[in-house]
Structures are given as structure tokens and as C-alpha cells.
């Protein structure tokens, strides 16, 4: 459960980066946030992660304010940020190890997750021996290896090429289907947002506000390639696209006409 009420944030007394954000996410829900670059997506996520202070408004995660390091929250960055001196397996275990999970159970989980992300046989490889996509698979496995109920992901596939990205979306869909986490997923890729999410939130250009909340009632389990043939998917995609465009231009013209 994540509740965000009237959240505003500015950096160093400048104009607002995000303004008056209300978001409510139920347990087990997969929510994507899309919006133009610089609209404050990362800012919102970092506040929820406890990496930035909550200045105005309220944020509650399972009823308590955000704090970096709480065990019910896991954070995944855009870059794979694997340790080059650790193998795929030890990288996968890293978070669980830091959170003092017993060696045996975390090892078992890490092995199963590496298999689930399609890296069986690569457990002992160092990151330098893995491709971009494989490294991001390890990063996914590392994130799911934590028992955190809430996952915060900031454009985790942003740096991948189009094909690899589609593969990883499928991997994430499967992991999510089997482990059911509450996810906030930030992306620039509208197709990705629609494919993965239960809801897509669209933010306007700076100062960022939530301008649309579109639910994605596509049935699960989903697969990226099946969805391409689903007309409903394309309708939803078009809807998100429209809202995004409104958020980028419409808001500005409206505020000008009001003035």
C-alpha cells in the first residue's frame, strides 16, 4: 500500500519540480508512471524510496513514512549497477546478504531466480562476460531476491536496445506473475507501460502533476508478442499517448488561456 497525498517538491527553492501529486497504489498492483523528461518521475520515486525528503504533502508506505533502507521496499536503478568483482550469483544474492538473510536460503533463491530470468549456466560469470541484457536480467533477479513487497523501478530497461527490452519485459511479467509485488515502474516507453501495468499514470511537463490515471484491464498472464495482436492493447496505447500529448502541450495552452 502506497499513499501519496498533495506531494510537492522543489530543489533549492526554485520552481516546483512536482506539484500536488496524489497517487494511491493498492498492494500487488503494478503501476507505471510516464511523462515527459524532467517532469519529476524520478523525484517522486526517490521520495517514496526515502532518498529525498518529503517536503510538502504526505507519503505513507504500509502506513509509515518513507525511509531508505526499510526492508519492505526494493529499489532498482536504470543502470544495472552490478559489482564487476562479483559473479552473477553473488550479485544476485547481494541485497539479501546485506539484509542478513541466511546464506543457504538466499543461495537457493538466487539460483532459482537466475534460472527464472534465463541465466542458468551463467551463475559463475563475471559481469564483464555478460551482455547488457544479461546484466539487467541479473539486476532483476537481485531485486526479486529481496523479500520486499514493494518494488520501485526507475526506467530499468531504459538503456537496452528494443529487442532485448521486449525480452526483459516478458521476464518481468513472469516474475511479477509468480511473485506478485507492488510495483512503481517509471518509463519513457508507453508500449512498455501498457504491456506491464494494471494502471498507467501520466504526468504533465514540469511542474509535474498527474494528469491521467488509465487502467489497463488487459487479461493476464500477458506476453509482449501476444499483445501486439490485441486491438484492445492498441486502443489503450493510443489513449495513453493522447493523454501524454495533452500533458505536454494542452496544460500549457490552458494555463495561458486562463491567464
Amino acid at each position: 500500500m502506497i499513499e501519496i497525498r498533495g506531494l510537492s517538491h522543489r530543489f533549492g527553492g526554485e520552481v516546483f519540480a512536482v506539484q500536488n501529486i496524489d497517487i494511491s497504489i493498492a498492494a500487488g498492483e503494478f503501476v507505471s508512471i510516464v511523462g515527459p523528461s524532467g517532469c519529476g518521475k524520478t523525484t517522486v520515486l526517490n521520495i517514496v524510496a526515502g532518498l529525498l525528503p518529503t517536503e510538502q504533502g504526505e507519503v505513507a508506505i504500509n502506513g509509515t513514512p518513507p525511509r531508505a533502507g526499510r526492508h519492505d521496499v526494493a529499489y532498482m536503478l536504470a543502470r544495472d549497477s552490478l559489482f564487476p568483482w562479483c559473479t552473477a550469483l553473488t550479485n544476485t544474492e547481494f541485497g539479501a546478504e546485506i539484509r542478513a538473510e541466511p546464506a543457504e536460503s538466499r543461495r537457493r533463491k538466487a539460483l532459482a531466480l537466475l534460472e527464472a530470468v534465463g541465466l542458468k549456466g551463467f551463475e559463475d560469470k563475471l559481469p564483464k562476460a555478460l551482455s547488457h541484457g544479461m546484466r539487467q536480467r541479473v539486476a532483476l533477479a537481485r531485486t526479486f531476491c529481496l523479500d520486499s513487497q514493494i518494488l520501485l523501478m526507475d526506467e530499468p530497461f531504459g538503456a537496452l536496445d528494443a529487442q532485448t527490452k521486449l525480452q526483459l519485459e516478458d521476464v518481468l511479467l513472469q516474475l511479477w506473475a509468480s511473485m506478485r509485488r507492488t510495483v512503481i515502474f517509471i518509463t519513457h516507453d508507453l508500449a512498455e507501460a501498457v504491456v506491464l501495468s494494471d494502471r498507467v499514470l501520466v504526468m504533465s511537463a514540469r511542474p509535474g502533476r498527474v494528469v491521467a490515471d488509465i487502467s489497463i484491464p488487459l487479461k493476464r498472464p500477458r506476453s509482449v508478442s501476444d499483445l501486439q495482436r490485441d486491438p484492445h492493447y492498441h486502443e489503450l496505447y493510443a489513449e495513453v499517448w493522447e493523454k501524454l500529448e495533452e500533458g505536454m502541450t494542452g496544460m500549457n495552452t490552458r494555463s495561458i488561456s486562463l491567464a
Binding site: 524510496a49 526515502g50 532518498l51 531508505a68 533502507g69 526499510r70 526492508h71 521496499v73 526494493a74 529499489y75 536503478l77 543502470r79 549497477s81 559489482f83 564487476p84 568483482w85 562479483c86 547481494f94 541485497g95 546485506i98 539484509r99 563475471l126 559481469p127 564483464k128 529481496l146
Partner: protein, 247 residues
Amino acid sequence: MLITLGRLFFLFVLCALWELVSIQQWINPIFIGRPTQIVRFLFDGLFVNYELVIQAYWTMVSTAAAFILGSAFGILFGFLFVTYPLVEKFLEPIFDGLNALPRIALAPLFLLWFGLGLASKIALGFSLTFFIVLSSTVAGARSVNTDFLILAKTLGASPASVFRKITLPSAVPSIFSGLRLGLIYALLGVIGGEIIAAEKGLGQLLSFLAGSFKTNGVFAVLILLSFLGGLLTYLTSKIEARLLRWR
């Protein structure tokens, strides 16, 4: 292969020419020595009277002591600086001043304090190695990928495990390049100290041989030193390659 042969041939021709110039006294042999005599001196010193072996032993002992102490304290202070920036702020001007000093200038003081024995050479080598390893440790520990630190923060990692699991391994490559340089400088400091004043060591032998115009011996010691320096560098890069396989 061909290049190696070419090199050997070139070296041979050079030595032959050198030998000729020396025998014919086109240049006074006191200045340039004679290759065959140099080889002879090397051979005797290494296998017959062991003079070179004994002196090399003392030099190596001093170098090892200077290197080990210098790098241990360098790494220690490096991490201390990174962990407690206040300590760095406090000590920085003093350390900067010492580091700016041409270290050989400390030799007379060290002789006064520690006498003619090994200790004054070790101190000189230490004074060089310490600062090199210190600055490479600080640079390495500061070069940690900030993504790693963000990750650790969101995981709730303790400062101790951040240090052990992230800062330390991140700093290892930089520390190693400091160690490699530090070893050569430990040797430099020790030899310098021995040349200035000592009872033992290759540096002392060198200055004695030069002082008594035994040019062949001087060249023999120089060749041995170059070999030892090369050997040390080779060994460190071997160790480095093993420890840094992940690079």
C-alpha cells in the same frame, strides 16, 4: 621471434663495438668499462664470491620493509581520510608539505636519527612509498560508483558493510597501481639512502666502486639493479592480474 633475434644481434654488435673501443682505448675504459669484464664481475659477484648477492640481499630487505610499512600505513591513512574527512582536513597541509619536500633531502636527518644501518634507508623508502599509496588509496576510495552507494542505502547497508563490500573492492585497482609505483619508489629511496651513507647494500657498493674507479663493477651493479627493479614490477603485475581478474 625475428625481432628477438634482431635485438640479440644488435646487443651483440653493440657490446663488440664497446669492447673494441675500450680495448683500443679510443675512450678511456675508466669511463665506460669493458663488457667482458662487466660480465665477469657479475658472474663472480653472483656465483663465486657472492658479494653482489649479499649486498642485494640487504637492499632487498630494506626495500621490502620500506614497501610493506609504507603501503600498510598509506592504505590505512587513505581509508581513514575517506571515512573521516575531518582527519584529512586536519592533516592535509602537513602531509602536503611533507610530500612536496624532495625526500632525499631527509636523508641526513634520518642518518642522524637512525644511524648508518638499515633503519635510515627504510625510513627514506617509507617516506616515498607512503604518500604514493596514500593518494592512490584516497583516489580509489573516492571513485566508487554512486549507483552502488544508492543501492546500498536503499538496502539499509551499515557503514561497515558498505566499506567491506563496496568501497574496498572499488578501491583495489587504484591501490594496486599505487603499490606498483610505491615498490619502485621504495627501491629508489633505499638505493638513494645507501649511496649517501651506509654500511651495506647495492647503493653503498655502487658508490664505493665508483669512488675507486671500478667502472666495470659499477655497470655490473646497475645491470643487477635494473634486473631487480624489473623483477619486482613483474611480480606485482602478476599478483595484480590474479587479484583483479574481474576487470
